[in-house]
Subunit: 338 residues, 2 copies
DNA sequence: CTGTTAGCGCCTTCAG
DNA sequence: CTGAAGGCGCTAACAG
């Protein structure tokens, strides 16, 4: 009774029959495992090709009880930062024989949780998450599943499992100190409404910690980074009297720059403008933005390597902080009072 | 003999035992399928939660002989265009109960082929490809696998299966005609070296078809779009005497614009600059780029719907062309001779 | 509404 | 170096 018996469609069995060997020999040949004579292996491979044999990864994963698969969760793809990190990561994973599956959270913890939950049903070998702030149910879920997990971009000394990232609070403080040294005194921060992006919040805290005047941080609504920057600058100038504005990234800073010029504010004299991430845009601007370069690709590669090591049972540092570098530009004064 | 017998880890069996029902009842309850009393279903769901039961999708896919999975192949993620298309698409697929898996080809046909081949081993329900130019082995492979396939972004009247996209040759001709009407006569095209991006090539052909002077098209190397634009403009001015330059997208056009200003060329008087895609950048520029808006999100949604319909056995139009719209800006003259 | 049975395609284990 | 057998976890097909 029941379903159609093992017919021609049956993958490995067809190949085995055609080659006059057992399925195991085919299995070994296909995987390139030892235990098959070179001659037989060649013959089998050729038959498989002729028959358009496509192995069934579901069956494989089922019999192995886990798949050669790594899930990667990113906040969004509309952002060069994550594309860079991803780029460094995927190559490394794939060269190690893993497939990767990507999802975006859109900065929503609940969404991330749901995705992880669904992904776990595929029995992945490991997981990569962005940031160190997650839904409270996530950690227990991962613990239970016993899956190696890498957290990137953000840094925390006590990650779920391992972590390779940048300390955004410290990075914010670092640029802020540089800018304060230039004589600026009244800071504002533009980018991502408070509470939506943990990295933005951390950086804002870092910036604020350096100045005596409280940090001005307008609430924003737009989604396009250029417009967020422009609208954010206008809002900041309306709500207060900042003499320097820190933007979440260079695209927003550029949007802010155009708005400052339109508003007749002198940059960097009246108003300093500071970006973040040292994006490609900055390389063509007639006046370079003062910004902070972040080791995104390196982060991807290092993170991937740490995770692979962990997968192979090697135990390294749990948390690796990466350094950033302030890139002075023409949108802040060259020296104090100048 | 052989492996550990069905132990506690055994998923559905544990839940069934705990609930005092058969595995089928658990299976039905978990899937929300009819045939379980509300009371039992509730009890089962609760036990499953308590036991941290995570279904095994591999087993499910194996028993169903195909997975609720749709593969999406994009050239790159470092480009808002594909992020937009993706955005429209993923939501639609997920709401229909499908998971999506993304890969990038980096404009390499062989790489796309390899990915498709690997993906097929997971027995996906459908596939989405970017463009209509693929490795010659791809079509037979898909044919053999019998998998519904959507081609997007680009348009062709005879797709592999179904197609929703923009005719880039026609789009190029459309802007070119507009610009020619403004009095420009000697065109250049900047973006993607010939032979790397089929859409770029098609658009260049479209542009060239409108003018009497042959199209100048420098070969480029940079990867950052802003720098490609700047370097491309300089190369074009070195290699010839264009009076209007069509860029592959707005980011490149902006890079070109800054280079034109640096080179002392008057825009739009001496030189017209034309972008493509109407990206967010354009909304903050003091002088808006002349560009072409493309229905990217709509394309994603429509494409996804067509594919879902096909998956449900509905047979619609095989190929759907989408219109683009020229957006006049300040980087081309307002009217002929002005 | 509920349970029994067999098999999805592959791989581990054990025997030659 | 090769083969036979059973199980990975789940669900379709059939009974009750």
């Amino acid at each position: 009774m029941t379903r159609r018996p093992r017919t021609s469609t049956s993958g490995i069995y067809t190949v085995a029959a055609e080659a006059g060997v057992s399925v195991m020999t085919v299995s070994r040949a296909m995987r390139g495992v030892e235990g098959v004579s070179a001659k037989k292996r060649e013959a089998i491979l050729q038959i498989a090709r002729r028959l358009n044999y496509v192995p069934n990864s579901n069956a494989r994963a089922l019999s192995q009880t886990n798949a050669d698969l790594i899930g990667i969760s990113l906040p969004t793809l509309v952002n060069d930062v994550f594309a860079d990190i991803l780029d460094g990561m995927r190559g490394t994973f794939e060269r190690a024989g893993y497939s990767t599956v990507i999802d975006t959270t859109e900065y929503d913890e609940a969404r991330e949780l749901r995705w992880v939950s669904r992904l776990l049903s595929w029995r992945p070998a490991a997981l990569v998450l962005t940031g160190v702030h997650h839904h409270p149910d996530l950690k227990p879920m991962l613990r239970d599943a016993g899956i190696p997990t890498l957290e990137t971009w953000d840094f925390a000394p006590d990650p779920i499992d391992i972590c390779v990232g940048v300390d955004h609070r410290a990075a914010g403080a670092e640029v802020a100190a540089y800018v304060k040294g230039l004589g600026y005194r009244r800071p504002a921060f533009v980018g991502a409404s408070p509470g939506t992006d943990p990295r933005a919040d951390a950086r804002a805290v870092g910036v604020g910690s350096v100045f005596d005047t409280p940090l001005l941080r307008p609430v924003l609504t737009h989604d396009n980074p250029f417009r967020v920057g422009a609208a954010g600058l206008r809002a900041a100038l309306t709500e207060g009297e900042p003499d320097v504005i820190f933007f979440l990234n260079d695209l927003m800073a550029f949007g802010g720059l155009t708005a400052a010029e339109a508003a007749g504010r002198g940059v960097p004299g009246d108003l300093g403008i500071v970006g973040f991430n040292a994006l490609g845009l900055n390389t063509v601007l007639p006046v370079r933005l003062t910004t902070v370069s972040t080791p995104r690709r390196q982060m991807g590669v290092m993170g991937a390597r740490s995770l692979l090591a962990r997968l192979n049972g090697v135990r390294g540092a749990r948390a690796t902080p990466l350094a950033v570098e302030v890139q002075p530009g023409g949108t802040t004064r060259l020296q104090a009072g100048a």
